[in-house]
Amino acid sequence: MTTTPETIDTEALRVTALDADASSRLPGWFVILWRNGKCRVGMLMLAAFIVIAVLAPVIAPYGPRLDEFGASEGPSAAHWLGTTARGEDVFSQLIYGARTSLIVGLVAGVLSTLIAMAVGLTAGYLRGVVDEVLSFFINLGLVVPVLPLMIVLAGYAPVKGLGLIIIVITVTGWAYGARIKRAQIITLRTRDYITAAKFAGDSTARIIAFEIVPNMISLIVVGFMGAALGAIGAEAGLAFLGLGDPQTVSWGTMLNQASLGGALTTGQWAWLVAPGLALALLITSFTLMNFGIDALSNPHLRED
């Protein structure tokens, strides 16, 4: 991730954040993120997507799989983005598709962040043989080509569905986060306050949970956002390749059905453009939020 220099005095922000941190954790965070203009836009965009996903049945004019309309119609007043080759309303599918993307992003993001934390923190804190073994698996996870692995796993699975996609994405996507967290804990574990905690007789689990994890919260958040983003993209890609459940309404399935249903040749640009654009906007919101979180977690990116 990259950042353009912020005009705001970030050092002062950090101090206010630390002050706020003392009373309660969330608001201090929120203040820093909210004061970053790009990050604020990103958070508002994501909030809009969440509202759309939650209120999908209210916003969408028709059911996403209701196929009683004329097939392959262009945009009209009744169907803002036209209809699919099976006579479904494209706009309604677009609204419901937000649900799938957000659920996959959230669930697969949380799961792979948890795996990454468990593996990365254990490896980095314990070092020695455990580290060698776990690092080997991390490196293996990094070099194995992810999409072919996902495709093969999805190809063998007996049932197609969203749960499977989430599992496949989680299994293949945790390694990068684990490597970053391992590197971070290696720099943290020799700090004085950790040594102090050790001398005070704290258990390893307690040190990791109460001394180390709070100091890498921003890194964990960045890791989660990256994992969620990767999961959203991967779901769209797999669904587009036809490896998802065709009954799940997602932007990837929409693109799959648009390219199979002849949207390219009949000139139904709205059917083709809308799902991709929605996906791009969702990814943009994450990227914008990352600008704020990056500046929070990496002071090097903020300097001069």
Binding site: P145, V146, L147, P148, L264, L272, A280, T287
Partner: protein
Amino acid sequence: MLYFVRRAGFFLATLWAAVTLNFLIPRLQPGDPAQAMLNRLQGETTAVNPAQLEAIRKLLGTPDGNLLSQYWDYLGAICTGHFGVSYSYFPYTVTAMISSALPWTLILVGVTQMLSFAIGTLLGAWAAYRRNSRVDSVITLGSTFVGTLPFFWLALLLIFVFAITLNWFPDGGGYGGGSSPSWTWLFVSDAFQHSVLPAVALLITGPIGWIIGMRNNMVQTLGEDYARLARAKGLPRRRIALTYGARIAILPNVTGFAIALGSLLGGTVLVETIFNYPGLGRLLLEAVSNKDYPLMQALFLFTTIGVLTANFLADVTYGFLDPRVRRAEAV
């Protein structure tokens, strides 16, 4: 020297892990894997011919033997290059299918990967050289924005605009109907025409990682003490940027080159499917949708071995380029 030994050890260990993974994946499903495959094939094609049965036996070993002896048979088959017969392209062996698809992917991926690397590294270095100027923000913000666009969607739009609406390029395939692969000028130029859109689709998003990586690295190296000293000595800016900044900043990108190969191979599955391009990626997807397990397994194994080898070579190159990694073996 220790560095190279360790890298070679890692390479061999990952190779073994990939081979084993390939062995375990089909056996993760509950029940007897061979029977499960047969059942599913029966559902698909109503009758299973003896050749398919034979192929499944080859792939899975004797289903009644224990896991260890199956594993042993499997390793033996791989070491002697027996990957079995493809179900969907029946008389052909898996190896024949792969070797006919391999050149297409190698050329497409090789050329676009190198171009992406060159373009991305140059733009990233330029952005770092002109840090905080308009050039910098155009390059970084531009690439961040383009990076948010789903890449298979861009490919679809490319077909929509340039192949179907404008009719400048063919809308898919590796070469025109009627011609067959040969080293004649006519065929090569035809194949080139067919590969322009897939290559462009890969090149739009390809350089982004390099741009951002190179810019961030170089901004950091330009802030190091030796760069400061060079400035204090009054060396020309350009020389500082090239020999003090870029030369060192490019190093992490060398390792990145191999890692990117893995994701690029993933990207080719999408691109080759969209453009109906006769490479490994499309073959993999075809194998998956036809439930052609031997082909699928061999393809996954080949891709993984390719990426692992590329990684190993990158590590070795890195060791030669940067003496620091050879000496410091700590982390």
